[in-house]
């Protein structure tokens, strides 16, 4: 009873604190500015995608999506994400484990390097793979001699996407596992659990929401990456066009329905991502 009363009596919500009250016109003025900005910059664009995609009706929408090029683009996008996300997830877990559970020389440098791809322009991220595997690149001759295409082919797209989405999982896990400490794991080990058992029974249940969060963001970026992929893809219709590239190509061909129907798929992906993100944040806050 007392604990309960204490909370209400001594730490009430901010709204009750008179000294923090801003004048009415300030409050609603600022709310107006903020809401106006969000509606104009964020809500309107979302609505516009649907408006444009369906501007010629359902039929045109479906026809545009059923085009072989569009379907190929969707398939390629899925393939890229299916390769990229698991690889980066395994890396993220390994890196977080090494960084948060052990002390070693150069640890902070390693943490910085993991974040490096975030500060590199997507176009440069594509460029470096062209420099490596392109016709004039380091390994270009060797690869072309063996008839392996990397640039202007799927492997190049996958590599560029891996580079771009490299830090997502690791950077979600590292702070969380740092904060958690390793007492629980030590307890499990002291009770005779093996290393893998400890990881699967103790660590993984504790980090699962953050892990999913990282995977979600990684996936969204992998499916939506444009700049880096655009450099290495060569824009070959039906072969090396991912969905975002298909949007670009259609838009540049003045195929509004084609561009926006594909864009609506990607926008839907973004909305699903946001909803799941909110859900995971809510889940994580209750852990």
């Amino acid at each position: 009873m007392h604990a309960n009363v204490h909370v209400i009596g001594d730490a009430t919500g901010q709204a009750n604190f008179k000294a923090l009250h801003d004048p009415f016109w300030v409050r609603w003025g600022l709310v107006g500015v903020a809401v106006g900005f969000i509606v104009l910059f964020l809500c309107v664009p979302l609505g516009l995608v649907l408006y444009q995609a369906f501007s010629k009706g359902w039929q045109a929408y479906w026809t545009a999506l059923a085009q072989p090029d569009a379907i190929a683009a969707m398939q390629l996008t899925l393939v890229v994400a299916l390769i990229t996300v698991p690889l980066n997830t395994v890396f993220g877990i390994a890196a977080a484990w090494a960084i948060t559970r052990f002390e070693f020389w150069g640890k902070s440098l390693l943490t910085t390097l993991i974040d490096l791809p975030f500060s590199v322009s997507p176009v440069i991220s594509g460029l470096i793979f062209v420099l490596m595997f392109g016709a004039q690149g380091w390994f270009g001759e060797w690869f072309s001699a063996h008839d392996i295409k990397v640039i202007f082919a799927v492997p190049g797209i996958v590599l560029a996407t891996i580079f771009i989405t490299f830090p997502f999982v690791a950077r979600e896990l590292i702070p969380l596992m740092q904060e958690m400490g390793n007492e629980e794991e030590e307890a499990a080990l002291s009770l005779g659990a093996s290393g893998w058992k400890t990881f699967f029974k103790v660590t993984l249940p504790n980090i699962k929401w953050a892990l999913l969060y990282g995977v979600l963001l990684c996936n969204a970026r992998a499916m939506g990456e444009f700049g880096a992929v655009s450099v290495v893809s060569g824009h070959i219709r039906g072969v090396t066009n991912t969905l975002p590239l298909h949007v670009e190509v259609s838009y540049n061909d003045y195929d509004v329905i084609g561009a926006f129907s594909s864009a609506s798929i990607l926008a839907g992906l973004a909305i699903v991502t946001l909803v799941l993100k909110s859900f995971l944040e809510w889940k994580q806050a209750r852990v």
Binding site: H2, N4, V5, H6, I8, G9, D10, T12, N16, F17, K18, A19
Partner: protein
């Protein structure tokens, strides 16, 4: 400045933090608002400060109605529980803040401000910390800086929210004495909130006991201790043995001397030092077993067990000077007779 609170009520949602509280505080007093957590004492302090508005009732400072006046115009000094020092400012800038935000016409010169800040720093004996940031100070130092900051604007009332709550026990002892001395020096009407009855009794000249949003009693510390107005105050201030007449054999009580007069209520509250004991065969006092004792410095606390009943009153505490206890020459398990010298009666 005197403070007058008329019929103050404050609700947070459905929870009544304060219910019809009226209180008068004469000028120059050092008052403790004492009560268990959640009793509304902090809310009352914040209402006096103007950090919160009451739902009903008026706040009068020096006879003027200030209920609607904003905290920044009220001329009070408020020391926050966790000090709320501006962490981006040095100690000097923290203390100077109140002077620097005055309207241009009233604002003193920088030279004056500097002099004032240094004299306050001297007052709180921390002049050498002027260029530090709050994060670099110890808890006790922050407390004193917060006080200096509140004093800089020469407030007519000083309000302190749990001023010693966040400090180590040893620092707390020193600061209590220091605050008392400071008050005697400055003589500004001061109110502090505390849940520690010992602290309230030691520091304050007046104690206001609150419980569940109501004032239970107001008075000088000695008054409150010797004449508690009700069972809550009696139990909350100091130690008390409670005898429930409906559970206790009147026979036993009569022999202990408590029922010499007519009972004036259902519960008899007896302070430990109002219980005297002697070896059982000496007098006809009511017999109990000596269970254990603890040394409390100059006095001894004796734990007694009354095998004749269960429930309240089964275990009694008595306190007496060391000398007296030695004279009695008692051992654990001895039968002793209890003599009760004084009791407070409540319903």
């Amino acid at each position: 400045m005197s403070i007058l609170l008329n019929n103050i009520s404050k609700n947070f949602g459905k929870f009544a933090a304060l219910y019809d509280v009226s209180l008068e505080i004469p000028e120059g007093e050092l008052v403790a608002l004492l009560g268990p957590s959640g009793c509304g004492k902090t809310t009352l302090l914040r209402i006096i400060a103007g950090l919160e508005t009451p739902d009903f009732g008026r706040v009068l400072l020096s006879g003027e109605d200030k209920t609607e006046q904003h905290v920044s115009r009220r001329g009070i000094g408020f020391v926050f529980q966790h000090y709320a020092l501006f962490r981006h400012m040095t100690v000097f800038d923290n203390i100077a803040f109140g002077l620097r935000v005055k309207p241009r016409k009233e604002r003193p010169t920088e030279a004056f401000i500097s002099k004032k800040v240094h004299s306050l720093l001297e007052l709180v004996q921390l002049d050498w910390l002027a260029d530090r940031f709050p994060d670099q100070l110890s808890g006790g130092q922050r407390q004193r800086i917060a006080l200096a900051r509140a004093l800089a604007v020469e407030p007519s009332v000083l309000l302190l929210d749990e001023p010693f709550g966040a400090l180590d026990a040893s620092v707390r002892k020193d600061l209590r004495q220091w605050l008392r001395n400071l008050h005697q020096e400055l003589h500004v009407t001061s109110i502090f909130v505390t849940h520690d009855q010992e602290e309230a009794m030691e520091v304050a000249s007046q104690v206001v006991v609150l419980n569940q949003g109501r004032i239970e009693q107001q008075g000088a510390p000695a008054d409150i201790y010797d004449h508690p107005a009700n069972a809550f105050v009696s139990k909350f201030i100091g130690q008390t043995n409670v005898f429930d007449l409906s559970e206790t054999e009147s026979n036993w009580l009569q022999r202990a001397g408590i029922l010499a007069e007519k009972p004036q209520g259902i519960f008899a509250h007896v302070r430990p030092h109002h219980i005297d004991i002697v070896k059982a065969e000496e007098t006809s006092g009511s017999p109990v077993t000596l269970k254990d004792w603890q040394h409390l410095g100059a006095t001894i606390r004796v734990e007694l067990f009354n095998p004749q009943h269960n429930g309240s009153g089964a275990t009694l505490f008595a306190e007496m000077p060391n000398e007296r206890f030695k004279q009695l020459n008692l051992n654990k398990g001895d039968r002793v007779a209890v003599h009760i010298k004084q009791a407070h009666w409540f319903n």
